[in-house]
Symmetry: C2
Subunit: 158 residues, 2 copies
DNA sequence: CTAAGATAGTTTTATTTGCAACTATCTAAA
DNA sequence: TTTAGATAGTTGCAAATAAAACTATCTTAG
């Protein structure tokens, strides 16, 4: 029988690594700006795409449960970091976008977060880093994790 | 100003990938054997290391909170999958080890889990897979995630 | 030897998260 | 048009997790 070493088992290692990286990054947005992960994901999605998008869209492409997004949206609205626009074409949904304050926060967060990311990857050579990211992309595509905005409804919500 | 694309941001991608892989694997041990992630981690740690080890050790090297481990240990004891040995040298701690039944379950789980892992990595060439795992190791070492059993107490419990 | 601090493990509590039910709105088919 | 089903978003509840307080035991400095 083949043996199983937990510490060589990729799923376990990914889990552990992701947890570690998350807590390392959280100090940037949580400790400094009172944001949690869902809040940061919303901010980042809205900030990166210039235009407004729906909560559903954010939930889908960040693979975060819609109820989690809903709560985080409420919090961000309360802090005046995002705003809701009625959509007269479809009154079920709201388009969300950053307020000026929200955009300022988004911009303020980028440099330290990119710095952290670079730090984490600094143990790899340029070549290794490129290969690593490429492998990541392949696995994501293989598992159908692509963020594609045109998008089929992606397997709904697991 | 540099921009930040969430979908190219490695910490986010790791998080998303780990979550996806976790749920994919959970079907193996949860649906089939009623194990949750902490339970599986204990089983795997005890199974891989032939000898008995303490709850503290498992918590540290799997980076799982000690209260989570404590509860999972209670559950596994109740199911007769592991047993506790008094340590007369230090009566604060207990050494844990698999029962025969626990070992059988561990053995039964290995093949399907390794198959899943292989499936997930099947989109990479052999070369890419080796490089990917190597990069993972480097990052783990860089972030001080090494499982090292000799081990300094690793930053205690976050 | 004793007291102060450290450590293993448990338990209580609070937080977070996902699920499921619900409302409101839209779409499509009879 | 009416009705059945789908979809966006919210909310109540339950499960999982982490934090913190607690017990018991060990270690070490005086």
């Amino acid at each position: 029988m083949t043996d199983l070493d937990l510490f060589k088992f990729v799923p376990f290692r990914l889990n552990r690594l992701a947890a570690e990286v998350s807590t390392a990054l959280a100090t940037e947005y949580a400790d400094s700006y009172g944001l949690d992960i869902p809040g940061w994901r919303i901010l980042a999605t809205l900030g990166f795409r210039g235009d407004a998008c729906t909560a559903q869209y954010i939930a889908r492409c960040t693979r975060t449960h819609k109820s989690t997004i809903s709560r985080a949206v409420t919090a961000l609205l309360g802090r005046g970091l995002i705003e809701r626009l009625e959509n007269t074409d479809d009154r079920r949904e709201f388009r969300l976008r950053l307020t000026d304050e929200g955009r300022a926060l988004y911009r303020a967060l980028i440099p330290p977060l990119l710095r952290r990311e670079a730090e984490i990857l600094s143990c790899l050579t340029e070549r290794e880093r490129i290969d690593f990211v490429m492998a990541l992309s392949k696995i994501e595509r293989h598992l159908d994790l692509v963020q594609d905005l045109s998008s089929k409804p992606p397997a709904d919500e697991r």
